[in-house]
């Protein structure tokens, strides 16, 4: 089984610890995954803003970087959704059907752990009060269901509390967050309120992009609530988050 990790551009540039956590976690589970250094981005920022021509060379680079792997694992429901559901659109635009061929091999982290490796207890310990936000693309585009929650429930020491209105969008939405910044913030303010209602120390989600938004609001409110990617929690074995 040849496995590559799509770290994603946002984790590469802003959240390197999440990338490291994915490799630490996979190694612990006996998976020797590669980081194809030619990888950049899935092209979603361009596609979702309407710049299809601009997405073509990015998806070409994506396809080259991940050629020859059985699975491409990524700590992002949104990037997995983009590869699986939008690369066809880019392939049609470019007239290059091969650009859509890697997409189906891309799995979001919880899908890979639960469906391919068949594990829910990954041997993690995280003694903190945690609430979980299911991100829209993992929930509705990929249909990961309760896989992330099953993984979290098996974490030792965790105090997992339910997030009210969990399935409602946080308002990030990629370039929506700046093109419609006010609406995006209004949505995020309600999400942040629900997070605070849980009295959790840590908000966990499967997408650092959504956490960038919710976390940015929680920080601005001096809420003291920390945001962490699912991978960071699952990789954790010690006392410190």
């Amino acid at each position: 089984m040849k496995v590559a990790v799509l770290v994603t551009c946002i984790n590469d540039a802003l959240f390197p610890d999440t990338g490291k956590a994915v490799f630490r976690l996979l190694r612990r589970l006996g998976v020797d995954a590669d980081f194809p250094a030619a990888q950049t981005c899935c092209g979603q920022p361009m596609v979702n803003t309407g710049y299809l021509d601009e997405a073509v060379p990015v998806v070409r680079a994506f396809t080259r970087a991940f050629a020859g792997y059985d699975y491409v694992v990524t700590p992002s429901g949104s990037c997995a959704g983009s590869a699986r559901h939008q690369h066809g659109l880019v392939a049609r635009r470019a007239g290059e059907p091969q650009l859509a061929e890697t997409g189906p091999k891309v799995l979001e982290l919880s899908e890979f752990l639960v469906d391919v490796l068949g594990v829910t207890d990954v041997g993690a310990a995280f003694p903190h009060r945690v609430t979980y936000h299911p991100t829209c693309h993992s929930l509705r585009m990929l249909g990961v269901g309760d896989k992330p929650l099953r993984l979290l429930r098996a974490v030792r020491g965790i105090d997992l509390v339910e997030l009210p209105a969990a399935e409602e969008c946080c308002g990030f939405g990629g370039t929506f967050a700046v093109k419609n910044a006010e609406t995006s913030t209004a949505m995020g303010a309600d999400k942040a309120r629900h997070v605070r209602e849980t009295a959790a120390e840590v908000l966990v989600a499967g997408d650092n992009s959504c956490l960038l938004h919710i976390g940015g609001l929680l920080s601005r409110q001096r809420s003291g609530v920390r945001v962490l990617h699912l991978a960071d929690v699952l990789a954790s074995t010690g006392e410190e988050p």
Binding site: V47, G174, V178
Partner: protein, 482 residues
């Protein structure tokens, strides 16, 4: 009526005003929350809901594929039953047809069944130009009309109003409103009933739309909750129905599917209280003169869009509005159209065309692409897919000419992200810039990481309301290489 959507600003600016309206935010959150819960409960009862959705989508798709044939069948069936059929290319033609009929009959007023098509074409305003007053008889439409307001929801056009505001509108604008009217819903409905009954009994002409038009029998179908539509459809002598081209279904058995999908998705009821069907003129019973105006007004343009044409499956249930987190916060007026919410964000550009005006071009971007609308849609319109497609059409319509900052940024990002060496170089630059910026930022994120909280434009679009983690000293790929 002076209220108009014409000249509305683009979505982000219109939304800004709505977001600052405390009463509106409260009314919307309460109303959409209530309908969402009702819908979820009655949809949950139907074990074969997914099969029904698939059937609904398939019937509409098959009909749209042979739309020309079904429309000709419908026309022939209607004519065989004594109905005069008119074809209208656009709003102007449709309004002219209705106005001419009114003028020919010498009426100065018509009663109206709630209808999206007549709102879309601005019929009330057009009739007013001919000296004909159109009375809205749907309770919510009446509230909007009396308040010189604009509809903000497809099903519940006065959803942005609470009952205290409705009482105030009635007291102020409704001729003969009872003394001491309170905000008790039953009292408000009673006042509207008295007000409308007089018009039902007096009016010689009615105007309706149709939820469905059955081609094989020439039957029009209207579903409603109040019975006021039934009054309009049965009491006047002349009835004119403005029907969008996409409302045709081939046979009565197709209605079986839609009459299950529609009420559960729209009002959250198992069955709508009133279902009126009429197939041509019945001597001695109901209106003796029937007209049907078959309306294009951009529908063939939408049909020509291979990805977007699925929007013509829409049965105007409003489920997508009620589950939309954007709509819940901005309300319908921000969309600048009688079709607000997720369906409006795709339908307006499809009907009007992209690259024509800034307001319409802003609508496909009025979504976080969360997908709640697609999940709720009873005819499985993949609204996020169409939104993304329309965004690309908007961008394409503006290609050529001097690139705007956004286009320039996307081109630069594309160049950087299509080669890992360029990305690594850019990340190094980001690190240097970040170290310079964090010198001025003392904020720490929960957990202790440094934050940027006041960036110059365009970073301010983010940091006006949100902190941003400072880029790390070492991006992932640099760490991996080490």
């Amino acid at each position: 009526m002076s209220a108009t959507f014409v000249g509305m600003p683009a979505f982000p600016a219109a939304a800004r005003e709505a977001l600052a309206d405390t009463q509106l935010r409260r009314n919307l959150a309460h109303a959409t929350g209530t309908i969402r819960a009702k819908r979820a409960a009655v949809v949950g009862e139907v074990a074969e809901w997914e099969e029904l959705r698939l059937a609904g989508a398939a019937i509409k798709d098959n009909t749209l594929r042979h739309l020309d044939e079904h429309l000709l069948t419908l026309e022939a069936s209607l004519q065989a039953r004594g109905v005069t059929v008119h074809w209208a290319r656009d709003a102007r033609e449709a309004c002219d047809v209705v106005a001419r009929i009114a003028v020919d009959h010498g009426v100065d007023e018509v009663v109206k069944v709630k209808s999206m098509a007549t709102q879309e074409i601005g019929l009330n305003e057009a009739l007013a130009e001919h000296g004909v007053t159109a009375w809205e008889t749907d309770l919510a439409e009446l509230i909007v009309q009396l308040g010189d307001d604009l509809p903000s929801h497809i099903l519940v056009p006065a959803i942005h109003r609470n009952r205290a505001e409705i009482r105030d509108i009635f007291r102020r604008e409704m001729a003969g409103a009872p003394e001491g009217l309170t905000d008790d819903p039953a009292e408000l409905a009673g006042a509207a009933r008295l007000h409308l009954r007089e018009k039902f009994l007096r009016a010689k002409m009615a105007v309706s739309g149709a939820n469905f038009a059955v081609a094989e029998t020439g039957t029009l179908v209207v579903v409603e909750s109040e019975g006021n539509g039934r009054m309009c459809l049965t009491l006047p002598e002349v009835l004119v129905s403005v029907v969008g081209l996409e409302k045709v279904v081939p046979t009565w058995s197709d209605l079986d599917v839609f009459l299950q999908l529609l009420p559960r998705s729209s009002t959250g009821e198992r069955m709508n209280p009133y279902t009126s069907t009429w197939s041509g003129v019945t001597p001695g019973d109901g209106p003796q003169e029937l007209h049907v105006v078959l309306l294009d007004n951009g529908r063939t343009r939408a049909l020509a869009d291979e990805v977007g044409r699925q929007a013509l499956r829409c049965i105007r249930c409003s489920a997508c509005l009620n589950v939309c987190p954007v709509y819940e916060r901005t309300g319908g007026h921000a969309y600048g159209s009688v079709y607000p919410g997720p369906i409006g964000a795709i339908l307006n550009p499809l009907l009007k065309g992209v690259g024509v005006d800034e307001q319409t071009d802003s609508l496909p971007y009025a979504s976080s692409l969360c997908g709640a609308c697609f999940e709720a849609c009873p005819v499985r319109i993949d609204i996020p897919e169409v939104l993304v497609h329309l965004r690309s059409r908007v961008v394409d319509a503006h290609r050529g000419g001097a690139p705007k900052p956004e286009a320039a940024a996307m081109k630069t990002a594309s160049w950087i992200l299509s080669d890992a060496r360029r990305l690594e170089f850019a990340e190094r630059g980001l690190g240097i810039a970040s170290r310079a910026l964090t010198r001025f930022g003392r904020r720490l994120l929960p957990g202790g990481r440094r934050a940027l909280s006041r960036l110059p434009w365009p970073g301010s679009l983010w940091t006006d309301t949100r902190d941003l983690p400072a880029p790390p000293r070492e991006p992932f790929r640099a760490w991996w290489r080490r």
